[in-house]
């Protein structure tokens, strides 16, 4: 039975020793050790978080790059398209203008030809008229070289003229 009978001395010394041990270890061992472990764990957590953040940023950056590349590609595409359109337009415009110019020139030429033609015709008419008058003068002079025929003509004309 003595085995389960706590001795007073050992109870006393155990209590004192344990309390002192607890106090000393808490101050000089558990605090620094747990603090260091805690700090390190916090550090690791922070490092992981910042790595994750960096990865996220990297991802964002890559996405940005991709986006910019995409945009650049689209822009180039659109620029090319614009250029092509402009080229086509310019060609079309030029064609139109040339057409217009040409038709204008043709028109002018036609007008000039027409007026030249008219002038030529007028001159020809004048010339023909002068010739005709000359011929007529010569014919008339020849016709009316005698008195009889003059009188006859007057007579005829008078007869034709109706007084009204």
């Amino acid at each position: 039975m003595e085995l389960v009978n706590p001795g007073f001395g050992l109870v006393f010394w155990t209590a004192i020793t344990f309390l002192i041990l607890l106090f000393i270890l808490r101050k000089f061992a558990w605090k620094p050790i747990l603090g260091a472990v805690n700090d390190r764990e916090e550090g690791i957590k922070d490092a992981l978080a910042s790595a994750e953040k960096a990865r996220q940023e990297m991802e964002n950056l890559t996405a940005d790059n991709e986006r910019i590349l995409q945009e650049a590609r689209a822009e180039r595409e659109s620029m090319l398209k614009d250029a092509r359109e402009m080229k086509n337009k310019m060609i079309a415009d030029a064609k139109d203008e040339a057409q217009a110019q040409a038709s204008k020139m043709i028109e002018q030429a036609q007008v000039a030809i027409e007026s030249e033609k008219k002038a030529a015709m007028a001159e020809l008419k004048n010339h023909v008229a002068g010739l005709s008058i000359d011929i007529a003068e010569k014919v008339v002079r020849k016709e009316l070289s005698n008195k009889n025929s003059q009188e006859k003509l007057v007579e005829e004309m008078l007869g034709e003229a109706t007084l009204n």
């Binding site: 002192i20 558990w30 260091a36």
Partner: protein, 384 residues
């Protein structure tokens, strides 16, 4: 409910607990069988040799030898050399009617039968079965009655530095050395990475924190109890280990009920002091049950408050003491049979038990700590 959970455990052997429990149970069963067999043998033989008596040969009493090793002592006996004991004398500190009386245990000249009388500070002292008695005034020798009890002496208050107290202080020195070196190794490194002994200690400290304190007490409150849990864990563990070292004569500190009682008492005090409203409500007026049940449960819960630390006390004491007794009993077989032929068997068996005991040193420290943490967790649990 209980049956169900038991079935689940037995039919799911890959569960952690499912493996752990049967193994421990098997070890315990084995231990019990060996223990009881040996006890029967030991008692029979000792009775037999008692009845024979005085045949000239010095008779071996295993019961006495084992009890002597398991119990506390006033001197640090190391070895018998040429039938002369070699031992370290330890101071004896007594509180008598004449005040504090101190002398060295060597004054008794290794006598434990009450024959040697030491006179000191006006008192006469004898040592009988590792207890110090003060003879009554006027007496010069110890007188025993038929039952081997001292009739003419009283027991003064004994504050002696016994074998166990001495080993406890040695263990404290070792603990301080280990953890001061560990703490220093953190201070030396720039990025809080331990080196040397610190890298050995850290996983253990982190184990106590992550496997014991955090799950049992909870994330928010565990920090307050960490110093106590860590100190208890390592204090018990190192004293369990010291108890297994043969040259230290197996000082059985953690198998002494005084030691386990003090630690259990501290757990009880901390639990009681940190009990919150919810904890006391669950003891005195259990919520969620009808009133007659509340009244019925109250005394049970009040008894439960005390049985928890008492179970802590007895568990540690009984496990460690049982281990010591088994090893010593196996060794006693050699002397009981008086044959060298039995020695290999004894050595093999005690080696086997010693290896198990090495595991038990850690397991018992762990169990004491985790149950303390569990009680703190129950005391601080919030109503849900």
């Amino acid at each position: 409910m209980f049956v169900n959970s038991y079935n689940v455990r037995t039919f799911a052997p890959n569960l952690k607990q499912g493996i752990f429990n049967p193994v421990r149970m098997r070890i315990n069963t084995l231990k019990n069988i060996i223990l009881s067999a040996l006890f029967i043998a030991v008692f029979n033989v000792s009775f037999a040799s008692d009845s024979k008596g005085g045949d000239g040969e010095e008779k071996f009493n295993p019961n006495e030898m084992i009890m002597h090793h398991v119990k506390d002592a006033h001197e640090f006996h190391i070895i018998d050399w040429n039938k002369k004991p070699i031992s370290l004398p330890l101071p004896i500190i007594l509180w008598t009617d004449n005040g504090l009386t101190t002398f060295m245990s060597s004054g008794f000249h290794h006598d434990d039968s009450g024959k040697e009388v030491v006179e000191k500070n006006g008192g006469k002292f004898v040592k009988f079965h590792e207890k110090i008695y003060q003879l009554n005034d006027g007496e010069t020798v110890a007188v025993f009655n038929d039952k081997h009890e001292l009739t003419n002496a009283v027991k003064p208050l004994d504050f002696s530095i016994t074998r166990n107290v001495f080993m406890m202080w040695v263990s404290v020195m070792v603990l301080l050395f280990i953890f001061f070196s560990a703490a220093r190794s953190y201070k030396k490194s720039k990025n809080n990475v331990p080196s040397g002994i610190g890298s050995f200690v850290e996983p253990l400290v982190v184990f106590v924190r992550d496997e014991i304190a955090r799950p049992m007490i909870g994330e928010h409150k565990y920090k307050r109890y960490m110093p106590y849990l860590l100190t208890v864990f390592f204090f018990i563990w190192i004293n369990n280990i010291f108890g297994l070292i043969p040259i230290l004569n197996g000082a059985n500190l953690s198998g002494n009920i005084a030691f386990t009682m003090v630690l259990a008492l501290f757990t009880f005090i901390i639990t009681t002091l940190s009990g919150n409203k919810n904890y006391w409500q669950h003891i005195f007026w259990m919520p969620g049950v009808p009133v007659p049940m509340k009244i019925f449960l109250m005394p049970i819960e009040i008894i439960g408050m005390f049985t928890k630390p008492i179970s802590l006390m007895i568990r540690l004491f009984a496990n460690i003491t049982a281990g010591h007794i088994i090893i010593l009993a196996l060794m006693s077989l050699i002397f009981i049979f008086k044959s060298v032929a039995i020695a290999p068997v004894s050595v093999a068996f005690s080696l086997f038990i010693t290896v198990i005991e090495i595991v038990v040193t850690a397991i018992q420290a762990y169990i004491f700590t985790i149950l303390s943490a569990l009680y703190f967790g129950m005391a601080t649990e919030e109503a849900h």
